[in-house]
């Protein structure tokens, strides 16, 4: 692991959506650290708050959502302390977000270069025409697209090419942190491989940290260094990818890993029984306890904190003590 200091620090970030039915706590004091060059995969049930966390880091949460607390640092810059204007400049140059479904939100009537130019102007209004053009070509080439793509319209490009255009937009200003929200879920696996190889190379060039949000555990296994598993707006476990896949600690992480289809277990569906909790009425204690096969008395009332174990892994579960040992020696996890 690197000896440098973290490029990204998220501390107790909290977001709620104020809906008619009540306040939905979508992100509950989430904390995270990333080092330059690191690739983190963020996974978890649909609706658990992954995109919300990304948007909150970008300070792009819109009403009825509200960032209610927490700090975000990129290097020494505290994003959460910047003025609106400063934040606008930080986007794309310090931290960039490639949104979920991005390739479908390219403007169909604008040429790719116009969309890229707009993106730069939005964040760096004073940049010269020549430099903008240079940046556009450079970004396109970094994602292995020909310069001629600049003159094309989105419908002239395949899905994989559009997705690479979106990555190109994300890296136009050489950000330190790149958040890609499900960048390949709409692509065939060959193209997925190309896009991920592209992202990998771009990241190495820039030395940035990458957060890959997604559901494809296969992609995670093949691409990231660390996996963060979120459940109901909280991180339940953050571990190196190998540990996560071979020895997940948190019962939810374990159930998630066990639900994966492999070549061997054809036709076996191992979904986790029960439903994810309502964010409006979160169960007290550990939010996973109603679905957890190992829930104990304490789990029903006390929320477990995300503890850093001596191994460097993080887990939020009453089954473990601070050393990462099972508190109850008789307890052996199934599976």
């Amino acid at each position: 692991m690197t000896t440098s200091s973290p490029i990204l620090r998220v501390i107790d970030l909290q977001v709620s959506y104020y809906t008619e039915a009540g306040r939905a706590l979508a992100l509950d004091r989430a904390s995270l650290e990333l080092y330059p060059g690191e690739k983190l995969g963020m996974v978890g049930e649909s609706g658990c708050g992954k995109s919300t966390m990304a948007l909150a880091m970008m300070r792009m949460i819109k009403p009825p959502g509200r960032i209610e607390g927490g700090k975000v640092f990129v290097g020494d810059t505290e994003l959460t302390a910047l003025s609106e204007e400063q934040m606008r400049r930080a986007r794309l140059s310090l931290i960039s977000y490639i949104p979920q479904g991005a390739m479908n939100s390219l403007n169909p009537v604008l040429r790719i270069e116009a969309q890229m130019r707009d993106a730069i102007k939005e964040h760096q209004p004073e940049m010269s025409k020549a430099e903008i053009q240079e940046r556009i070509y450079h970004a396109l080439e970094s994602v292995e697209l020909r310069r001629s793509v600049a003159r094309m319209y989105p419908h002239e490009l395949s899905g994989g090419m559009k997705q690479r255009v979106c990555i190109a937009i994300g890296i136009l200003l050489g950000p330190k942190v790149i958040i890609a929200d499900e960048p390949t879920s709409a692509l065939d696996v060959v193209t997925q491989r190309q896009v991920m190889e592209t992202l990998d190379r771009v990241q190495k060039q820039l030395g940035s940290a990458v957060i890959l949000i997604g559901h494809d555990m296969g992609l995670m296994a093949q691409f990231v260094d660390k996996v963060a598993v979120m459940y109901a707006g909280k991180f339940t476990e953050i571990s190196p990818v190998r540990d996560m896949f071979t020895n997940p600690l948190h019962p939810y992480a374990r159930a998630l890993i066990e639900s994966l289809p492999t070549l061997e277990n054809k036709g076996v569906f191992k979904g986790i029984p029960g439903l994810a909790p309502s964010l409006i009425r979160r169960p007290p204690g550990c939010a996973f306890h109603p679905r957890c096969a190992h829930a104990m008395e304490i789990c029903r009332s006390v929320t477990p904190a995300l503890e850093r174990l001596p191994s460097g892994r993080f887990v939020a579960c009453h089954l473990y003590d601070r050393e990462g040992n099972l508190v109850n020696a008789e307890l052996r996890m199934a599976g």
Binding site: Y17, T19, E20, A21, V43, G44, E45, S46, G47, S51, Q100, G101, N104, E144, Y153, H155, E156, S158, G159, G160, M161, E182, S185, A186, L187, D188, V189, V190, T191, Q192, R193, Q194, H215, D216, M217, G218, L219, M220, A221, Q222, V241, T246, A255, L256, S259, L260, P261, T262, L263, K266, G267, F269, K270, G271, I272, L275, A276, S278, L279, I280
Partner: protein, 337 residues
């Protein structure tokens, strides 16, 4: 017995507007049958842009084929009228690919679910309508109280996608076209939703065309698979054969690129030979020639026919020209149900 659905040599060419020169052949001479008495799950996989959604749109009658015919219970869907048309609309349902595009932003989720209930008279009372809605939502892991009353932009990507699936479950059609129905939900929910789709197939005799890039889940639910590349069938057959022993060079590249959730298994041993080219280029021979490591002279001359490489497997590739040819019209005969 008349098939439930039949594609007869269907070709779709999109002619472009002012902006580009060439037309795109999105689907190229595809024939296919789904039998009424043999409900099946058929996966359609292939490159992004290979014509999968086009196939779905044609099947639903949203776009018309350039050549060929699509028959539902023996009738050309272009000529359905009156009651037949209503039946077709009810019996053939779809889960659309882009959950961000299909919702009208001004209607709440309730609207999306109650409209079909009313339109197709699926419930006798308000009470029953609500019960059926709750049932369908729970089957896809959603809490009614969490999503009803919400507008589309207030839902996460996976939640929208699941509402689409819930809608299809509610309607219990004869044939369901599911275009990437679970691409935005996690592994555990994928398992849950696919299991409900499979139950739909087993218990209610509903045939499903499962369009997906996720070959791991396809392997688990489907009986058979068709692999498309730029509108043409490259390989087809039983899902076990094609996933475990792919024969066509494109399918081999595709299967090799599946990111299996296993960290000891390296992703993609085969190099991706050529980058994709711009669309609209014209070929006379096999469409995969420019990327194929085995390409021979004859590959450039004429498109290869389907060769029967195993009892339940065909591949359109000259590497297998010693095998018997299967006419394109008879493709379905090698697909197990």
């Amino acid at each position: 017995m008349t098939p439930l659905l039949e594609f007869r040599n269907v070709t779709k060419v999109y002619t472009k507007g002012l902006l580009s020169r060439a037309a795109t052949t999105a689907l190229d001479d595809v024939s296919l049958k789904i039998e009424d008495d043999q409900p099946t799950i058929l996966t359609v996989a292939g490159e992004s842009g290979s014509g999968k959604t086009t196939l779905a749109m044609l099947l639903l009658g949203f776009i018309a084929p350039t050549r060929g015919q699509i028959l539902y219970k023996g009738k050309d869907i272009a000529h359905l009228r009156g009651e037949e048309k209503v039946n077709f609309r009810k019996e053939v349902q779809a889960v659309f690919q882009d959950p961000f595009a299909v919702f009208n932003p001004f209607y709440t989720v309730d609207h999306l679910l109650t409209v079909p209930i009313e339109k197709f008279k699926l419930a006798r009372s308000k009470r029953e309508a609500r019960d059926r809605m709750d049932e369908a939502l729970s089957a896809v892991g959603l809490r009614p109280e969490d999503v009803l009353g919400r507008f589309p932009h207030q839902l996460s990507g996976g939640q929208r996608q699941r509402i689409n699936v819930a809608r299809a479950l509610l309607l219990k059609p004869r044939l369901l076209v599911a275009d990437e129905p679970v691409s935005m939900v996690d592994a555990s929910l994928r398992a849950t939703i696919l299991e409900s789709l499979r139950n739909l197939n087993r218990e209610h005799g509903i045939s499903i065309i499962y369009i997906t890039h996720d070959l791991t889940t396809a392997y688990h639910v489907a009986n058979s698979i068709i692999v498309l590349y730029r509108g043409s069938v490259m390989e087809a057959g039983s899902i076990d054969r094609v996933i475990r022993e792919p024969q066509h060079p494109y399918t081999r590249l595709l299967i090799d690129s599946i990111p299996w959730p296993d960290i000891n298994r390296k992703w993609g041993q085969t190099e991706i030979v050529a980058r994709e080219q711009e669309h609209g280029s014209v070929e006379t021979g096999c469409k995969f020639t420019s990327r194929c490591p085995f390409a021979m002279d004859k590959c450039r001359q004429a498109p290869p026919p389907l060769y029967r490489v195993a009892p339940e497997q065909v591949a359109a590739c000259y590497l297998y020209d010693a095998q018997p040819v299967v006419e394109r019209e008879r493709l379905s005969e090698v697909l197990p149900v």
